[in-house]
Symmetry: D2
Subunit: 150 residues, 4 copies
C-alpha cells in the first residue's frame, strides 16, 4: 500500500464498480495517501429546479471523495463504509467542471474522520460546499453489510 501505483489501482478498482459514478459522469482525478480528488463536468441532467448542480449530487461527489480518502489509509483487505456525514451548502453550485477533494482529518483503526470540499475548477478558492464525515473501516465481512457492523 506504500506503492503509489498500487494505491491508485486499488481505489480505481473500487471506484469503477460504483455504477453511480458512471451515471453522473464523475472521474477519479487524484489519489494520494489520505487525499482523493474527483472531477465532474457540468451536465444539465444533474441539476435542481434552478439549474444549479443538485445538492444531492454535490453530496454524492463529496461523500465518494471522502470515502476514498479514508480508504487510502486502510489495510488492503478493508472496505470503507460511510457512517454519517454533514453537508453545508455555501454558494449555488455553478461551474463547468466541479472538483471534490476528500482529506482525512483523523485516521483510526475502526473509524476515520474525513472532510471534503467542492469547488468549480475556475474558482478553486471559493468553496461551493463542505462535507464532514465519519467513515468505518470494514474488515472480515465478505458481505460488507453496514447493518451488522453498526
Amino acid at each position: 500500500m506504500t506503492d503509489p501505483t498500487s494505491l491508485e489501482a486499488r481505489v480505481r478498482d473500487s471506484f469503477d464498480r460504483q455504477a453511480t459514478m458512471a451515471l453522473i459522469g464523475a472521474r477519479l482525478a487524484y489519489v494520494g495517501k489520505g487525499e482523493v480528488t474527483l472531477e465532474l463536468p457540468f451536465d444539465a441532467r444533474l441539476t435542481q429546479q434552478h439549474g444549479f448542480l443538485h445538492a444531492g449530487i454535490s453530496s454524492t461527489l463529496m461523500d465518494t471523495a471522502a470515502g476514498y480518502a479514508a480508504y487510502t489509509l486502510m489495510p488492503a483487505e478493508a472496505e470503507v463504509l460511510t457512517v454519517e456525514f454533514k453537508v453545508n451548502l455555501l454558494r449555488p453550485a455553478k461551474g463547468a467542471l466541479f472538483q471534490a477533494t476528500g482529506r482525512v482529518l483523523k485516521p483510526g483503526r475502526s473509524l476515520m474522520v474525513v472532510e471534503a470540499r467542492l469547488v468549480a475548477a475556475e474558482a478553486p478558492d471559493r468553496p461551493l460546499a463542505l462535507l464532514n464525515a465519519t467513515m468505518m473501516v470494514v474488515l472480515d465481512r465478505p458481505d460488507v453489510a453496514p447493518a451488522s457492523k453498526l
Copy 2:
C-alpha cells in the same frame, strides 16, 4: 395554498424542473402540508461498489423530500434552498422500491428544520437512513442565489 390540489400542483411543478429526479427515476408519491414522500425504484445504475443504493443517492432523495416538505409551508411566491443537512446511514440500502419521507419539525419565517427518513417499501419499519436539515425560505430573488442570501 390551503387547497390540497394546488399545493400538490405547486410542488409537482418545481419537482418536474429537477432534472436529477428524472435521471434517477424518482417520483412524487405524496404531498401534504409539512410532509412529502418520494419514491425511487431500485436501479443498478444507482449503486455503490457493493451493489447497494449509493449513500449519495439516498441523500439526494431525502434532501429533496425534506426540501419539498418545507416548501409546502412556505408562501406561494417563495423558493426553497437547503442550507445544510446531516445524514446517518443505518443499514445497507437494499430494496426494490425506496421511499423517502420528509417532515417539517419546526416551521419558520426564514428557516425551517426538517427531517427525512429512507425506507424500503417492503420493510417500512426499518429505516435505512435518516436526514436532518435546515431549509431557507427564499423570497424576492429572481435569481434564487443562495450565495447572496447566506
Copy 3:
C-alpha cells in the same frame, strides 16, 4: 442487564462520576432500555448573553442523555463514547425545568445511532432543541481512550 434495577444502578454509577452533571445541577430522571431522561432546573449561572439556557449546556444535557440511552443497550463491561453529534436549536431555551430524553434509533455491536430532544417541562410538546449522535461501544479498554479506538 435485563434487571431494571441493575440497569439503572449501572447508569447511575457512571452518571455520578460525571463532575459536569453535578456542576450544572443535572439529575437522572428515568432509565429504561434504550431511553434515558435527564432533568435540569433553570439556573442563571447556565445562561448565554440573552438570559436563555446556553446552547452548549443544552447540548451537554442532550449528549449525556443520548450517551446513557446507548449505554443501556451495551454489554455490562462496555463503556460509551460520543463519536459525533449534531444539534439543532429550535427555540430559545426558556423554562423552569428542562428535560432531555435520549432514545436509541439503531443499536449495534460497535456503533449506535441515538437522538435526544430537549423540552421545558411546562411545554413538553414544543421541543427546544434536537440532537442526533453516533455513540461508540468501547470494550476491553481500561484507559477508555477514544483516540486509540477511532
Copy 4:
C-alpha cells in the same frame, strides 16, 4: 467596527454577559475579524466519567468561539444566534489549558458558516474536537428570540 479595539470591546461586552463562561472559567483570548479564540484551564468540575473534559463543555467552548467569530463580521447592532452545529470528537480531551478557535468560512447577510477547533495548548497540532456551525445574524429584535426568527 474596523477599529480593532472597539471590535474586541463589543465581543467582550457580550462575552461578559454569558454566565456560563464565568461558571466554567473560560476567557476571551483573541478577537480578530472573523476569528476568535477562547481559553479554558482544565478543571476537575468539567469532566465526564473518565476524567476527560466533557464533550458538552468542549462543545460549549467551541460553539461560543464560533458564534463570536461570526459576530465580528456582523453589523454593530446585530446579535448572533446559533442555528445548528455538528461536533466531531477526535481524541480524549486531556490537557492543562484548552483553546477553542472559531473562524468564519462563509460570511453572509443573514447566515454565516463557521468552524471551530479545540486543542490543548501543549499540543496545538493535534485537534481534540471540531465543530461546524450555522450562525444567524439577528437584527431589530429587542427580545432576540430565535423562535420568532427561525
